[in-house]
């Protein structure tokens, strides 16, 4: 319908949906904490339920992603590059995909996490989710960034967040190295195939933090160009 007035010039803001998307993605990754709690108790029924929830959230994030992509036609004039926005969206979406893969793999193989590394492993998962929480916080500053025209102190604030995100990711790397070492010392007592998959899962959980950092990096690029 052609709008008979100036208001048709204002397109729907892509910023709000982008924030909604990261919120959805973070909600999805937060489920991992509960998931590993029940996995450590080897309650596979509860784990299946949580995996279903993760999968639902991931699907919802996907739907949001598609909607945003369709709502960003090339005829839009925006304060930031359209390509940057779409790229940021892609990176955000990958977090949810990794989380879904982790849950699927752990449940599918009914993987048992060895008692001796359970504590460290839980801390490691929590730290990785800290990263997605911070990514969410940074993306949620987008509308404030718009208010200040992507300039000035609001940009500094977001830059600080992104820097902190890098630090968290460093943390998770250190934790990952430790976990691997511990697992190596247990190798002889465990089923070799299980060990291979454990290494895998440790890596994937780390990848959640990596991906969160990548979201931060994308946001940084977006700000650097504007």
């Amino acid at each position: 319908m052609p709008l008979n007035n100036i208001m048709g010039v204002f397109a729907k803001s892509p910023i709000k949906p982008l924030e909604e998307h990261i919120n959805k993605v973070h909600a999805c990754s937060e489920e991992l904490t509960k998931f590993f709690k029940v996995v450590l108790q080897q309650d596979w029924k509860a784990a299946a339920e949580i995996r279903l929830k993760i999968s639902t959230l991931e699907k919802e994030a996907d739907a949001l992603k598609r909607e945003i992509r369709l709502k960003l036609p090339s005829g839009l004039f925006m304060p930031v590059e359209r390509t940057d926005m779409l790229e940021l969206l892609t990176q955000q979406d990958k977090i949810a995909n990794i989380v879904k893969d982790i849950a699927g793999r752990v449940l599918g193989r009914e993987m048992v996490i060895p008692e001796s590394i359970a504590d460290d492993f839980e801390k490691y998962v929590a730290r990785c989710i800290d990263a997605t929480a911070l990514a969410k916080k940074a993306i949620n500053e987008l509308d404030e960034l718009l208010e200040t025209g992507f300039r000035g102190r609001e940009v500094d604030l977001v830059e600080k967040m992104i820097h902190e995100l890098d630090l968290i990711e460093d943390d998770t790397d250190t934790m990952q190295i430790r976990l691997r070492k511990q697992l190596r010392s247990l190798e002889s007592e465990l089923n070799p195939v299980d060990v291979m998959f454990l290494y895998n899962i440790i890596e994937w959980v780390g990848a959640v933090a990596d991906q969160a950092e990548r979201v931060g990096a994308r946001l940084e690029l977006m700000l650097a160009r504007s």
Binding site: N5, I6, F10, S13, L76, F77, E147, G149, G152
Partner: protein
């Protein structure tokens, strides 16, 4: 000649009717452009917007509408060609009114955002060039008017950019945006009051019978500006600010302050629109009335008949009242991500440009200045997303309007000529 004498009453009546029709079309067609941003950013409800529009459109039309009227009345055509056949001028102007009003009606029905100024200028040029003689059009003047349609959006965009950037610098990008908003927003209000009152005083009050010296004019304008600023401060101090404001709420509170400013700029916009666009309806009417009442003599200096400005103003308000709600409702539904701080910058810039241009007597397009202003705020990276394809459609409809108005006015011109001759 004798036509004018024999049918003088009928001719004036017909022209007045068509003029009212055109004014009504302007009110119906432009209400969204004048008040849309205020409603879109939720600074005003639909009802408030309509009431403000009525009061200030009328005031603008009545107090500052005279200058542009004379341009439309005698600037576009070379009156030398009509000395021997003044009835042609009467027919042509009447036909132009009907054509432009008709075109607005069609465009509104189809949902095209046309410019009322374009339609009337196109219509006048059309009948004069084809119905009379190509040389009967003052092409130099017309070129100037068309040129202003390109220049004014650029100026308005530039002003909007500056206003928005200053708001960013002084308010948003500071330690305490709320405190600064309370401090500087009244200044913007004062600026709006100043521009408006100055143009009104300098250009509009002659026919009301007020004659002020330039110094008196400036003094009055500054006085009004200060008054507006103080009233604004009072209104802001009565705002309910959420004291548990973290940074996020902060901007929400700042936007509340801007919403009050938006009320002032909405008044400005309505005033500016009335002052510029009423001329599109009453300019041709004034020409008809002056020729008919002088029995065919085309006077160089004819005063506006007393009833013409109010007729146009009432026409615009009638169009607003009848169609305003419907148009505004569509805006209310189309939820736009437009905050008061953006809307104010666009409106203030557009309104300033329009009133200044009205002061010079140029019939500019209000729609265009507003689009220019919105683009200016966009350039300052203040708007989340602007739809360029919609802007393209708007520009196309402007271009189409000129020949459409011209063709229709030529047809009506020959019909009128046939009826009365």
């Amino acid at each position: 000649m004798e036509i004018l004498v024999n049918y003088s009453f009928e001719l004036i009546l017909i022209a007045a009717l068509f003029g009212f029709f055109m004014a009504w079309g302007i009110g119906a067609n432009d209400v969204a452009n004048a008040m849309g941003t205020s409603v879109g950013s939720k600074a005003l409800t639909i009802k408030q917007a309509i009431i403000i529009a009525m009061i200030f459109e009328f005031a603008g039309a009545y107090l500052a509408g005279g200058e542009v009227t004379s341009t439309i009345r005698k600037g576009i055509i070379d009156s030398g060609y009509f000395v021997d056949a003044p009835e042609l001028l009467v027919f042509g102007m009447t036909a132009s009114l009907l054509a432009a009003g008709f075109w607005l009606l069609i465009a509104s029905y189809l949902g095209w955002p046309v410019s009322t100024t374009h339609s009337i200028v196109g219509a006048i040029v059309g009948f004069a060039a084809v119905g009379v003689s190509v040389d009967a059009v003052a092409w130099g003047k017309v070129a100037g008017i068309v040129g202003s349609w390109i220049v004014t959006p650029a100026i308005s965009g530039f002003i909007a950019y500056l206003i928005f950037m200053s708001a960013q610098k002084l308010i948003f990008n500071t330690d305490d945006p709320l405190k600064n908003a309370k401090r500087y927003v009244p200044v913007y209000m004062g600026f709006a009051g100043f521009v408006l009152s100055l143009v009104t005083i300098k250009k509009g009050l002659k026919h009301v019978g007020l004659h002020l010296s330039p110094v008196e004019g400036y003094a009055w304008a500054i006085g009004i500006a200060v008054l507006v600023g103080i009233l604004g401060s009072l209104a802001i101090s009565r705002l309910k600010i959420d004291p548990k404001a973290d940074r996020r709420m902060h901007y929400a509170n700042v936007e509340k302050v801007f919403a009050i400013l938006m009320v002032v700029t909405a008044c400005c916009m309505a005033f500016a629109h009335g002052s510029n666009d009423v001329a599109n309806a009453i300019g041709p009417l004034a020409a008809v009335v002056s020729v008919v009442s002088n029995e065919g003599e085309i006077a160089k200096k004819a005063a506006l008949a007393w009833w013409i400005l109010p007729l146009g103003a009432v026409g615009i308000v009638a169009g607003l009242a009848i169609f305003g709600h419907r148009v505004m409702a569509t805006i209310g539904q189309g939820i736009t991500h437009l905050t008061p701080s953006r809307g104010f910058a666009a409106e203030l810039a557009a309104a300033s440009t329009v009133v200044i241009a009205s002061g010079t007597g140029l019939p500019i397009s209000t729609t265009q200045t507003l689009v220019g202003a919105v683009l200016g705020v966009g350039m300052a990276r203040g708007i989340a997303a602007l739809n360029l394809s919609v802007i393209r459609n708007i520009v196309v409809s402007w271009v189409v309007t000129l020949p459409a108005g011209a063709v229709m006015s030529i047809i009506f011109f020959y019909i009128l000529k046939a009826i009365f001759s």
